[in-house]
């Protein structure tokens, strides 16, 4: 009883102990906030990574691809049909895009993905990321343009009439006033344009009689490839400068299938931009209509008309285990032809990097709590010195060394529990109101703390796992207890007479 009484009394009367409580509290709160934000980022990133990738990917080792996607999809269906919900063959190849902005040619290194938008939409999110399916909002969040397509309309390669009209007006205007800056098919092309035209003709592209008509090759282009962030001097806000958009033409350079690969170039009309929220995708991917990409790369057999593919994307049914499906498919497909993996394995290095980052942050933050532990040790030691005579009194009244030790250990546990408890509450409140806090800090400092254009999230994402909170709190209590062991042992070991005579 005396242990409990003295422990609570010391807690109430020793304000220096408040420093220990605050240090534990800050450590715990920081760990909860950082872990929640990291988990939020990680979850959001996984969601977005998975968004464009299907559950399972069957990829050819060769850039040339494999003939007859229908045949291979039948094999896949026969092997794991019960687990497969949808499949979509695609062609993936590296390349370059070029477009003109402000009189300069801008060239970007990209991954070109040939898709059929309807089947692609069945294996992963596509329309959700296309700008034509989203409303356009102003700075205040008011909708200034409704979505051009309803969510129920499947994605296609048609240029929306609004953009088609704008394109016609633009080209006609430029033809009238600036004959030099004519569209891609005009006779004033430079050398590279001539080469493209030559290749396009070889490849069989029929020149349209309408110079304003879109090209046969159509693309959805990554948002970051055609925009550039800048700070508006008037408002101080970060805005996006759009360099190319729907209705504009871009040049695409890539290589043909076959040995050796030959460079090939073609024009494509931008149908839409996509914004997945993953910088990796939005700054590197260009979705192209698969038929045109196959044609340009020579992936269509001129005799049989058979087409080649480099990847089959598979969406699994709800509840199917991706790893089991991967194993089944690996066993069924001929060795050396295909690489089968889940989307997580495909993005393994990126996901692993996030996990490693989270682990390192946790170690660093735990060191902060450990520093708090040393603070507790120092404060406890001081309290034991200060209470030396009290310890002597207790011993003279018959208190055992173990009893005296328990007072200080209980003191440590209490400080740990109080510090952890308050830290958990503070941390959870911080996480709950993190965006409001960020807004307050931005207002206070006049500088954007969380810039959504950099981090690519409209608000700071958070996810709090109860077990994480539990382990953080338990860790802090453990550190507080460990830090109090040494002073408690010293208190227990004090000689009663010497303690009573302590000045």
């Amino acid at each position: 009883m005396f242990k409990l009484l003295l422990c609570t009394r010391y807690l109430r009367t020793r304000f220096i102990a408040l420093a220990s409580v605050i240090s534990v509290m800050l450590g715990v709160a920081t760990m909860i906030v950082v872990n929640s934000v990291m988990a939020g980022f990680s979850t959001e990133m996984r969601f977005r990574l998975h968004g464009l990738l299907s559950d399972v990917l069957v990829e050819t080792f060769s850039l040339d691809g494999e003939w007859d996607p229908e045949k291979w999809m039948t094999v896949l269906k026969e092997t794991a049909g019960d687990d497969i919900e949808a499949m979509s063959p695609t062609v993936e190849v590296f390349g370059l895009i070029h477009f003109k902005y402000g009189g300069n040619w801008i060239t970007q290194n990209v991954s070109i993905v040939g898709i059929d938008p309807v089947s692609k939409a069945k294996v992963g999110a596509l329309p959700e990321h296309l700008e034509n399916y989203k409303p356009v909002k102003d700075d205040d969040g008011n909708i200034v343009r409704a979505p051009l397509y309803a969510a129920t309309i499947p994605p296609s390669w048609d240029l929306h009439p609004t953009y088609l009209e704008e394109r016609r007006e633009r080209i006609n205007r430029s033809r009238a006033f600036d004959p030099v800056d004519e569209p891609a098919t005009s006779s004033t092309e430079d050398d590279s344009d001539a080469a493209i035209k030559e290749f396009a003709q070889e490849g069989g592209e029929q020149e349209s009689t309408d110079p304003t008509a879109p090209h046969k090759a159509r693309v959805y282009i990554g948002f970051q490839l055609v925009t550039m962030p800048y700070v508006d001097k008037e408002t101080g806000k970060t805005r996006q400068l759009t360099m190319a958009g729907p209705g504009d033409d871009i040049k695409i350079s890539t290589v043909t299938a076959g040995r050796p690969p030959q460079p090939c170039h073609f024009y494509a009309t931008v149908v839409d931009t996509f914004k997945s929220g993953m910088s990796e995708y939005d700054s590197h991917l260009v979705f192209c209509n698969i038929e045109e990409l196959q044609r340009m790369r020579g992936m269509i057999d001129p005799d049989s008309g058979e087409r080649a593919f480099t990847r089959i994307q598979i969406k699994l049914r709800e509840g199917a285990d991706p790893d089991t499906v991967v194993e089944k498919l690996k066993a069924a497909l001929p060795a050396g032809k295909f690489h089968v993996s889940t989307w997580e394995k495909k993005q393994g290095p990126l996901l692993a990097a996030v996990e490693v980052e989270a682990a390192i942050l946790n170690v660093l933050l735990f060191l902060i709590v450990a520093v708090a532990g040393f603070g507790i040790l120092a404060i406890f030691y001081m309290i034991v010195v200060e209470k030396t005579r009290d310890i002597g009194i207790l011993k003279s009244l018959g208190a055992s060394s173990r009893g005296v030790m328990t007072i200080f250990l209980s003191y440590g546990v209490s400080l740990g529990i109080v510090g952890s408890g308050v830290g958990v509450i503070a941390g959870l409140l911080f996480v709950r109101y993190i965006n409001q806090i960020e807004g307050g800090l931005t207002w206070l400092t006049g500088r954007k703390v969380f810039d959504e254009t950099i981090y690519y999230f409209p608000s700071i994402p958070t996810k709090t796992y109860p077990m994480m909170v539990f382990w953080v709190a338990l860790g802090a209590v453990t550190i507080a207890v460990l830090a109090s062991v040494l002073p408690a042992r010293r208190a227990a070991g004090l000689h009663p007479v010497r303690a009573l005579r302590h000045e």
Partner: protein, 242 residues
């Protein structure tokens, strides 16, 4: 514990106890073979000059310290070599201490200070079960020492005499057989000191409480049944008080 022991005339005794303290490489002898006996219900004063070893003898008798040589006996049984746990229990059940500087716990109220010995003796649950009885006993003791109106006061709010009375109440709370008082009036004015001595004498007379008191004040020592004088670590003289 005391119930199981057949009580001889000698209540508490030290047999040829010697004690020295180390200071660096030097050993400073404080007690050099002291034989001391006290009978049950006796009030003994130990007097001597500063550094004569009075307090050290009291600490050895009360098991706050261990002799280098010799024995401490309770009812003829050696107790100084008992395990630490048994010695703690004896300090809690058999001995009551009163110190010159009162040694009350500053964070606790007067009532809580008095309750401390029973809190140490009993488990949390036992104390909780009997808390009303304990509180009543403590209040009764505080009334007896004239502090019934100071129950919730902190030691810092009491005078020296009041603090010593609270310390006496605390020492009595554990129903001790032996009260060991180390200069109980040493820090008090003459009038308050006399009051304290009166209180100790009445406790000795009414409760047959064995009291061993260390003092350097001859006048105070005269209030005991017997006076023992220590000089340079040796028992110099025994004598009945005047």
């Amino acid at each position: 514990m005391s119930e199981t022991i057949k009580m001889p005339q000698t209540h508490l005794a030290s047999l040829a106890v010697a004690k020295s303290y180390s200071k660096g490489e030097h050993k400073i002898p404080v007690l050099r073979g002291v034989d001391f006996h006290v009978r049950r219900g006796e009030f003994v004063s130990i007097i001597g000059q500063s550094g004569s070893g009075k307090s050290t003898l009291l600490h050895l008798l009360g098991l706050l310290d261990s002799p280098d040589v010799g024995e401490v006996q309770l009812y003829g049984h050696r107790i100084d070599d008992l395990p630490a746990r048994s010695r703690d229990e004896l300090r809690n059940r058999v001995f009551g201490f009163i110190f010159q500087f009162y040694h009350l716990l500053p964070e606790l109220s007067v009532l809580e200070n008095v309750l401390i010995p029973v809190m140490i003796r009993h488990s949390l649950w036992d104390f909780w079960k009997h808390r009303k009885a304990f509180r009543e006993q403590a209040k009764e003791l505080l009334n007896k020492v004239g502090l019934g109106h100071r129950l919730t006061h902190r030691p810092s709010e009491l005078s020296g005499g009041e603090m010593q009375r609270a310390a006496i109440a605390r020492a009595l709370m554990g129903n001790p057989e032996v009260l060991l008082a180390d200069e109980p009036t040493g820090n008090l004015d003459a009038e308050t000191g006399a009051e304290i001595m009166e209180l100790l004498s009445s406790l000795n007379a009414q409760n047959e409480l064995t009291i061993i008191m260390v003092t350097h004040d001859e006048a105070i020592a005269q209030l005991a049944h017997r006076i023992v004088r220590l000089a340079e670590g040796r028992l110099e003289a025994w004598g009945e008080a005047a």
